[in-house]
Structure formats: structure tokens, C-alpha cells
Symmetry: none
Subunit: 531 residues, 2 copies
Amino acid sequence: MNRSNAGAFDRSITSGADFLQLSVEDAPVRGLSDWLAGQLRLAISDGRLPIGSRLPATRVLAGELRVSRGVVTEAYQRLIEDGHVAGRGRAGTVVVAPIPVTAALPTAAATPIAAPPTDPTDATGPTDPTGPATADALFTAPGADVFDAMRAIPARIDLSPGMPDLGAFPRTAWLRAERSVLGALSAADFGYGDPRGTPALRLAVANWLARNRGIRADPEDVIVVAGVAQALGLIAQVLRDGGITEMAVEDPGSLGARQHLRHWRLDTPPIPVDAEGIRVDELRAQGAPAVLLTPAHQFPTGVVLAGERRRDLMRWVRVGGLIVEDDYDAEHRYDRPPVPALRSMLTEGICYAGSVSKLLAPALRLGWMLAPPKYRDALVEAKRFTDLGNAALPQLVLARLMESGDLERQLRFLRGRHRRRRDAMIAAIGAHLPGAVVHGAAAGLHVMVTFEAAGFASGGFASAGFASGRFTDADLAAEALARGVKVQPLSWHGQRPGPPGLVLGYAANTPTVTAEGIAILGDILRPRHRS
Amino acid sequence: MNRSNAGAFDRSITSGADFLQLSVEDAPVRGLSDWLAGQLRLAISDGRLPIGSRLPATRVLAGELRVSRGVVTEAYQRLIEDGHVAGRGRAGTVVVAPIPVTAALPTAAATPIAAPPTDPTDATGPTDPTGPATADALFTAPGADVFDAMRAIPARIDLSPGMPDLGAFPRTAWLRAERSVLGALSAADFGYGDPRGTPALRLAVANWLARNRGIRADPEDVIVVAGVAQALGLIAQVLRDGGITEMAVEDPGSLGARQHLRHWRLDTPPIPVDAEGIRVDELRAQGAPAVLLTPAHQFPTGVVLAGERRRDLMRWVRVGGLIVEDDYDAEHRYDRPPVPALRSMLTEGICYAGSVSKLLAPALRLGWMLAPPKYRDALVEAKRFTDLGNAALPQLVLARLMESGDLERQLRFLRGRHRRRRDAMIAAIGAHLPGAVVHGAAAGLHVMVTFEAAGFASGGFASAGFASGRFTDADLAAEALARGVKVQPLSWHGQRPGPPGLVLGYAANTPTVTAEGIAILGDILRPRHRS
């Protein structure tokens, strides 16, 4: 990191004591270095000093605390010795490894940092950590808790995919809708409800899907769920009860979705994805009775399912196949209207799932599924015995936002903002990652980048690194995290070997932050280019 | 123990107040028994009164404290009821079980009249209806959707149990808290979160349980769930994965809870409940590795688990038994403070579950469980793959209501209102259902009424009806529904034959509506009396 792109955390260099809320008056008379090292550890563990941030210069901090510079130097030395910070020459002293938050801090995320099971193809779930796990293990062998573990690690720049611009959450509109809902509710509305969800939201979702996804849905077929993740669990339970033991998935395809299906005891045979989407011939050859698809914007490649493949899939469904359509970010299409959902072509044989996670916020845990008539009753029963149905208030607030036009306004606003952020991401990749190939930028909230052999050759990237397999995308993600940048390695999402790559979210970050994060990736790769 | 070998603690007999450092000047003007019971608990928990020591004679302590002997007797009675001391005849009143240090809650418990179901013959459970249920089939053979079906039938008067006064939902306080939460949230708070729930609510729940249920809980052990129903599903999944195939249940006991356990493939062998609660000897004899209990206010009988039973259950847990404690309405206790939860006595081996369904509204779908350490990681994983955790906004609003005192104010308000409604229910039963026996009125939101043979005879009720078995409580409920009154037949909740009866909720209705509903029940039964 050089001065020009050091960014916001340069502040800590000039006002470290303030920023860290340190006051030497709290310190003991003796053992000042111990005290300071302890304070800095605390700041790293609670995220005030995220990974990648720079510690204040020793001279500056010593001056602010009115202690000798030796005290600060010694404290830094201790953190270096225990591996949490590293001297980076002119770049200063940088936080490189997380400190697990102890159980003594009740407000902190206690998920230990990554303790993944060893074999990524094993669906038995996470094993207990035997000790503090390393960031490397997180990337090379992601366990069932990998997303929790990633979230628990503070980092200065988060380029994880799947996140809209959360700062744009329409707080005022939400609160206004909630006030109006609370004023109109009858006492009975506060009681137990239909496990399928409130009639108002089921109607609003049917209307929303008609307007935005080309689907003509009967509100009776809408089941309100706690997000697509829950929908996957429900359909997996129902299929499993019906004797089905596998659901094919796209490859590459979402690691998280695969983990959910496996938790619910479905195997997930991989079907290759090419430039037109899933290979339906391979699906047919594989013989699975069901498949999970992301047709509008394949995750992670961003491919839009081609017309002939869609028609071929419909033929596959008509002879008994079941499609689970995860329409996770289809509304976010920038250059033309979104392609209609598969469910718009056929009702029987397609279980459609969507949510507000990418429209409003994942924290709302609110989504919907359209059950194929054949499975509807079983899905309602599975939902009933999961939680008796979603909470009523947020459902009614969302219904109002959908019916008032507020949600479409929000979507238009987000599309404009996200498009600018996408363009910034692509420009930064062009500037800092020569030879990297960008995929799937026409829609969604992320791009996929691959470092293919051809790319290395033409762009001059480290063929001695990636190409030989000695430096993997997991290594790149681990090193990026050590420098304060969260990214997902493409290898997380593939079940079969593929080119090294990254999945990079752009929607949640300003162009400046994105550019800075990509520049750091470039810094990591540049020496490998020279070697 | 007799006087001659009573040992050192004979001192307490002659100078109890001094020994215990008690001074009645510290006591409040009202509630002397509460105060004294609290002081004695403190003395037990901090070791001044170790296990095996004898409490001072009531006469002696009353004299020393210059209070009436009734005050002391009642304080001792509370300790007996919550299982910490036992009357030992001439040996006096002896400390028999420890109190965790923070569990110094004043407790309670008059013994409600019991409704021992007799005649253990058959344990057949509910069968699924094969077609659209008629009201009769609904009551005689309730299926998995019985509660949804009941809710869908309009009725003028709803005396179903389990519902607080929903009209009292604190809309203004909720909206105020939500505004303040929305104003304080960071963008990251709108993202995916810890599957265990937000740190703020987990801390608030731990504090709430300490204040209201005598439980000392580590927030790290709190898992926020979508109500007790979800908690049952999660624990059932985890047990089932561990090879456990049955969870014993109280009989009579909640039909809904039994349906949930069975959905998750656990058998539910019935264990009889008598006037002191579940028969622990029968539980032991039955041999199930786990049991679902409602110790504070048994559903539906309303029995409070007696002290000796509590101790016996703790012995059962210590040799490997697992208790799932459904604390569904314990805060609603009218004549004295609630008895502490079983979880206050032991952490390992007790999985505690509670919710806001009876405090605020079932429609919030918000509750908590305290995992036994052994099962914590597996329960977190089950929650993750159910819905990735509860929605964040309602959690944060609830946390604020709990920490601000608003929720405790709401509870005090509800207690007063519910008590008047309970009294109205009891008066109406006395006026319109002569011979009906009321059970479990000291707490909760419902009473159980039985029509026993003796009752029919002495009260003049239709022995030609109930007593001969030709007119069942399911018939009564069906006919009541036909006349616009929803009630639950007691037979729903029993797995083995028991006396005919009804479970009647009073909290959600005004005294006038309740009286009208009970009068209609009387109308239905009167002609049968004459016949």
C-alpha cells in the first residue's frame, strides 16, 4: 500500500489515540507496553482496527499518549511476534490477522474464525475447531459455517458478492409503512396466522412477480418464506420425504446453496455451465430428478440462460424433471429489461424462489416461493412445522411497499447506483488486473473474474503462479484478507476443477473503495508476474 | 434428624435472625413473605444455609423478626414449592437443593387442583384427516393442520387457549423503538447476521431471564428462534441426528407440541401428570432419553411442578436425561411471583425455550432457546440451515423494549387485565356450568375444566351424556362451534383416555364476551342434564 491509495485509515496515523479511544490515564503505572499491546489487541478483535488497516506511526502515537516512543515500539513488536500485525516497510505496520473475540465480550460475534472440515466434498458439516483456525483453511476448505466465519473477520474493504447497497435501505419509507400497518391491524392479526403468509403479502408478491418477472401466479400458490435459503430447505425436505436423494446443481454454482441442500440430505451432482448456461444434455445424461438453477443470472458466472436451453429444459420438465429456480438477483439488470423467469413458461414442475435480500436487505429474512401444485400441500406443511409461518408485521410492511410503488422506486434508484458501481469495478479491474477476464457484468451485484492461462500469457500475469497451480485463488483470497480485502475465491463455488478466479461484489461499495480493493489485489499479483 | 444430632445448625433454631443476618427493618412494607423467601434463598445460595441445614422453627423466627408466624410459614412454603427445602416432620424444614447464586427470585405457587387423567390404556395419537374436515372430524380426529383449520372457521366468540390480549399490543412503544433502532443501524446491520441472533437481543434475553425467570444465562448460549415451535423442531432434528427416536411428553399435554415432535420423527410416549406434575417414576420406568415439560404451568392442567418432583427430575437429568423446558406462559402468574425455571437449577441437560407469543403477540414469531452446552453447536447449525437466523429489525426492537423496561410494564399491565378476565371466567363457569371442576387458574392464559362423573352426579350434569361416553368433549366443542363459540376439547391434548373437559382461554376476551360464551356452553349441556 502506498500513500496515494492508503485511504480512510490514514486518519489513524494522525489521530491514533482518539480513533482508538485510548487514554494513557487508564494505564497502569508500570507495564505501559503491556497495557498498550492489550488495548491494540482489543481494537483488532472488536473491529476498530480491521485487517489491512495501518497502525499509527510510533512517533505519532507516542506523542499523543505522552509516553516514550520505546513503549509504543515494544507494544507493536509484541503484536508482530504473535502474528497479528506485520511491518510493511514504507507502508507502515499493518494488521494482518484476526484476533478471536473472547466469550467474555457478550456483544461480539463469537463464531471462531473458520474451523472448516477438511474435505470440501464432504457434506457432514463443520467440525469443532481444535484451535484458532487460520484464514488459509477458511479459503481452502470452507465449512458449513464459512460465511459466518468470514463475516466475523473484520476487514477494511468487503468485496463479497451478494450484497446490495445496504446504506440505501429506505428507512423512512419502511417506518412510514410500518406506522400505517400498525394503525390498521386488528387484534386477530397479532395472533397465529396462515403458515403460507399473510394474504396481503401473497397478493402483493403475485402482483410484483407479474410486473417484474413475467410470472402469472395465483396468490394461493405463494408461500412466504424466510429467504431463498429456507425455500431450498423446505423443498429439499419434501423431495427427500418423497424418496428423492439428489438435486443436480450448476457447476460452478453457489457454495451456500449446495451446503443447504446437503444439510437436508440431498446429494448435489454438478452439471457444467457454459456460455449459454447449464448443459441440459449433461443434465439429462446425469439422470437427476431435480435441478437447482439460476437462469436469469447464473451464479457465479453471470451467464443468462440461452433460449434454446430454456426450451430444452421445458422438455426435460415435461417428462418429469423438477426445476428449482433461484431468482436471486434478476431484478438487477442494467442494460435491458430482465429476462422472464422460467416459471413464466410453466407452472407444473417449476418451484420458483425469490426474496428481498438483494432488493432491500438480507437482514429482513423475507422471501417467497411459488410451489408447483403437486408439492404445494407438502411445502405448506414443511413451512408450518419449521416456524408456523413468517412474522406478520414485516410481511405487511413489505406488502405495502410493493403495492405503493415504493419498492419499484427503490429498485430504480438502486439500478442507477449499482450500474455506476459496476462500471467502476470493471474500470478498476482493467487498470489493476491486466489479463483478468470479467464475466457476467450485464446484471446482478457481482462480477466473476478469471485468470486463465491465455489471460496470463497475453496480460503478462504470473504463469509461474496460477498457471502451475502453486498459487491458487484461495491463496489470493487469503492474502487479500490479510491485507484487509474480503473476496471469494471462485474455487469455493466449483465442485470440479476450473480456472482460478474471484467473485467480486460491487454493489455495496463506493467506486473509490472498490478501486482501492482491486488495486490491493493487483499489488498481490504483481510480484508474481515479475517472477 | 432429631434434636440431639442436629449439629451445628441447631444454632439457627435459637438465633435464626442473627445467624442469617436478617433484619425486618430492611423489609418492604408490603410483601413480607416475598422478602423473607428472597432472603432465605440468598442464604442458601451463598452457603449460609448449606444443604442439610435446618431452617429456624417458624415460631422462633417469627418472634425474632417480630412478624406474624403466617409470614414465615408462607415464605417456607414457597421454598418448599420450588424444591429447595423440604418439610421433614419432627426434623423440621431442611435445605435439600442448592440455589444458583443469581437465582434469588422470590417464587410462588399455590397448588392448583389437579386433573389426573386415569386409566392408562392406549396411546394412539391424532390421525390425519383424509379429506376436507367437517367440524366433527376436526374435533374427533385433529390432523396436522387442525389449528390452521380452526383459525379459518369464523366464530363469534373465541375461547381458544394460548392467546394473550392481542388488543393490548403496545403499538406506540413498538413503533417508537423501531424508529430509534432504524436510526441507529449501520449498513452492515442490514446484511446477513449471526444465525444465533443479534448480540443485542441475546444479551437482553439473558438479562430478561435473570430478572423474570431466575435463570443465569450466558448470552453465548442464547439462540434466537421463531418461537417455541421452531425450538422444538431444532432440538428434535439434533436429537434425531444423534440417534434418539423418542421424546416423552406430559399426558395430558399440548397437542401442538406433540405434532411438531412427530413431524420431526420423534415418537412421543405419554407420561401421566398428577396433582404434583409429571410422574417422574413413570418417566424413569418408560425409559425415554428426553422429555418435554411445562413445569411452571403444565399445559393444559395448570399444575405447578412440585418441589420433590423437581429434585427428582434433576437426579434423572444427572444420570443422562434431557429436559426440554417449554416455559410458554410462566410470566403470567397472578397471585404470587412465578416459580423459577428448571433451567435455573441446572444448565447441562436442560434445553430451555420461551417466546414473546404470550407476552406480546404470536404474530411476531420471536422466541429464544438456551442450549445445553453439549448441543449448542448442533443447534446453531440446525438454525443456520433453517433460515440463516431470525430477521434483525424485530430482534433489535424487542431488545430495546426489554432493556427499556417497556416490556415489563406491558407484562404488569397484562397481569392485571388477565387476572380480571380469569376471575370473570371462573365466575361464569360457576354460574353456567354447575359441576364443572376448574383447574390451573393460578397462572397462565387459560383454565382447564373437567366434567367428572362425581361432578355430574353432585352437580346434576348429564350423566346420560358424558358419563356414558355417548356425548364426548369433542361433541361439545363441535356443537359450541356450531353456535359460534370456539373451545378446545381436553381430549385433543390427551394421548390416553381421561375425563371429558375443555381448555378455555380467557385472556383475549372481555368479561362480557367470556360470560356469553360460557352461557352458550351451559345451554348446550342443560338439556342433557334433563334427559
